[in-house]
């Protein structure tokens, strides 16, 4: 449903994907798999966190990039490649430049403070405490996706300027069976080149596997704009995709548990991750189109505040979870507190300090144009 030039199901999906991002980052503190690598890793952890969080992880960002690709194509259609780039510089590059130093400085400060105050320090914090880790490595933190979005926008300019239409014609000619059956196999080598579950490519330079993996989803979303009926072709497969994804994820977790060092096992893990990513992204898009294709008040508000919330949520999550490390309570309670307090703080700050200000205009566009031109500012929120 497109109303006032807004694509409601994508708006709503984006808002839910935002929520998934906060849930995911808050859950990592209680993940056995991340215990040695996460700053707020808690004593109390559960394998069920791994089961749920890593399932979410496999399609949360692919879905973001597919939505971003769709809206990039829409911008190109409305304003041309140059107009799209100008818009993206304001909505993606500027927030990256503004928020990256603030977010990394906040995380660094919080970690150093926690290293000297927390009694039950997790392994990574213990390293900081013992000065074995003199400083945190340079990283884009959770804002890495902004860097990759910029890279994909640049690739659109490159493809348009160099008149490369091969990839576009392949995508446009792809059938649902090929996309669901063969595309994951093409993604598997990229995933096989890194550890499982896939790490966040948060380094200062792009990583080839992430360019390939997330790029495929971005350009799938891009092609989706030009093939609006493609999504409806997946509808008969919807239930099967969901069930098959759960089965593939179960097999993936079993392989992780076995911890086989055989190359074939790692390749199989990559294949399973690729299938879950593609199938669940398609399932989410299709489900969103079927069930969320209407203006829903609370989701609409969340959608407006989603960019701000996503940009600032990680230091807030850390600030809360550092306080919870010495508290003797079960992980579900700590996780629920960190999620609720983070969302409340982020959305309240958006309502009272961002919406309607100059910063709000940078993030959401001018209020008068938000309704009519909101589609132009959607891609950046992933």
């Amino acid at each position: 449903m497109i109303e006032n030039d807004r694509v409601h199901y994508l708006d709503n999906l984006r808002a839910l994907a935002l929520l998934a991002g906060v849930l995911f980052h808050a859950a990592l503190a209680y993940s056995p798999l991340m215990h040695n690598f996460w700053l707020t890793a808690d004593r109390d952890k559960s394998v069920w966190v791994d089961v749920a969080a890593w399932f979410l992880h496999l399609f949360r960002m692919p879905l973001f990039f597919a939505i971003a690709g769709f809206f990039a194509a829409r911008l190109v259609n409305q304003r041309g490649v140059g107009g799209m780039l100008n818009n993206r510089m304001a909505r993606v590059l500027l927030p990256l430049v503004l928020f990256w130093p603030l977010v990394t400085a906040a995380i660094g400060w919080l970690a150093k403070r926690a290293a000297s105050t927390v009694r039950n320090a997790p392994p990574l914090l213990e390293l900081l405490r013992q000065n074995d880790l003199p400083s945190l490595p340079l990283s884009l933190a959770h804002l890495w996706f902004l860097g990759y979005l910029l890279l994909f926008y640049l690739l659109i300019w490159i493809a348009a300027t160099a008149e490369w239409r091969v990839a576009a014609s392949w995508t446009l000619a792809a059938t649902p069976a090929r996309l669901l059956g063969l595309a994951p196999l093409l993604l598997a080598p990229a995933l096989a080149s890194v550890s499982a579950p896939t790490p966040a490519p948060e380094g200062p330079l792009p990583q080839l596997w992430a360019v390939v993996f997330y790029g495929v989803f971005f350009f799938f979303g891009y092609a989706l704009h030009w093939r609006p009926l493609l999504l409806s072709q997946f509808r008969p497969l919807s239930a099967a995709l969901g069930i098959a994804s759960l089965a593939a994820h179960t097999a993936f977790l079993w392989l992780l548990k076995v911890q086989s060092r055989h190359t074939g096992a790692h390749l199989l893990e990559a294949v399973l991750q690729a299938y879950v990513s593609v199938w669940m992204t398609v399932w989410c898009l299709q489900a969103g189109q079927a069930w969320l294709n209407a203006r829903l008040g609370w989701l609409r508000y969340l959608s407006d505040g989603s960019y701000w919330t996503y940009l600032v949520h990680l230091p807030v999550v850390f600030a809360i979870q550092f306080q919870l490390l010495d508290w003797d309570a079960g992980w579900p309670i700590k996780w629920a507190i960190s999620v609720l307090v983070t969302l409340t703080a982020c959305l309240a700050s958006y309502h009272f300090a961002v919406r309607g200000t100059a910063l709000g205009r940078v993030l959401n566009g001018r209020p008068g144009r938000r309704e009519g031109m909101a589609v132009t500012s959607q891609g950046r929120r992933s």
């Binding site: 490595p137 490159i158 493809a159 300027t161 380094g203 200062p204 330079l205 792009p206 080839l208 360019v211």
Partner: protein, 231 residues
């Protein structure tokens, strides 16, 4: 709009023309640079070396093809007689070529330069490598400026190819020589960034040669009465 007798609007149009003509190739080079950066970012030894090598090769070939495209080909394809029909002076054409040539090269050059600075300072690579890398990059920039000036001033295609090949060949000996400078050799594997007097004098020399090449070519063109007048 004119400035010191030059038609700035016409110069701008000529620069835009060269930029647009070369844009397609530039897009290809940018794609290559992104691939090289992605290989470096992957962090494995083989991909780091392959990406670094690709970065240098692309930078050299970008310059080589930029000069060929906007200066040499223009003569071969007789575009100059058309430019002559425009209300421009020989010096305007020279200035436009110079700006376009520098602009086209500076886009990938600055991408590579800033990436190298980021890479050296933000990763586990020794910070002392920065001084050495700067010397090499500015030598590449110097080579490009000299080759561009020669291409603008000398009409012989053979001489242009010879000069470009000679400058490219000098890159490797320069890298070896710069690496053997005492302050570079001492600090290149450490985290000390040392701008010693000998390093600064090499930089000074690079700046001087670049400025000299630009000044001589400019002086040469001020003496031309028409676009096609040869030396």
């Amino acid at each position: 709009m004119t400035f010191a007798g030059h038609d700035l609007q016409m110069i701008r149009l000529l620069v835009v023309k060269d930029w647009q003509v070369y844009q397609k190739q530039l897009a290809g080079y940018l794609a290559g640079l992104l691939l090289a950066l992605s290989l470096i970012g992957t962090g494995r030894t083989w991909s780091f070396n392959a990406g670094g090598l690709l970065l240098l090769v692309l930078l050299v070939s970008t310059g080589f093809f930029a000069i060929g495209h906007i200066v040499v080909n223009e003569r071969k394809e007789s575009t100059l007689p058309f430019v002559m029909s425009l209300p421009v002076t020989a010096l305007d054409v020279f200035i436009a070529k110079l700006i376009a040539g520098l602009l086209i090269y500076l886009v990938p050059f600055l991408v590579v330069l800033s990436t190298t600075i980021l890479l050296v300072l933000a990763t586990s690579l020794p910070d002392g490598l920065l001084v050495y890398a700067m010397l090499v990059y500015f030598f590449m920039f110097l080579s490009y400026c000299v080759a561009l000036c020669v291409a603008i001033a000398v009409e012989s295609e053979g001489w242009n190819i010879f000069i470009q090949m000679a400058l490219m060949t000098m890159l490797s000996p320069f890298m070896i020589w710069a690496g053997s400078l005492q302050s570079i050799a001492t600090n290149v594997r450490t985290n000390h960034i040392v701008w010693s007097p000998e390093v600064l004098s090499v930089f000074g020399g690079e700046v001087l040669v670049t400025a000299l090449a630009l000044a001589v070519t400019c002086w040469f063109h001020t003496r031309k009465a028409s676009v096609l007048q040869s030396s």
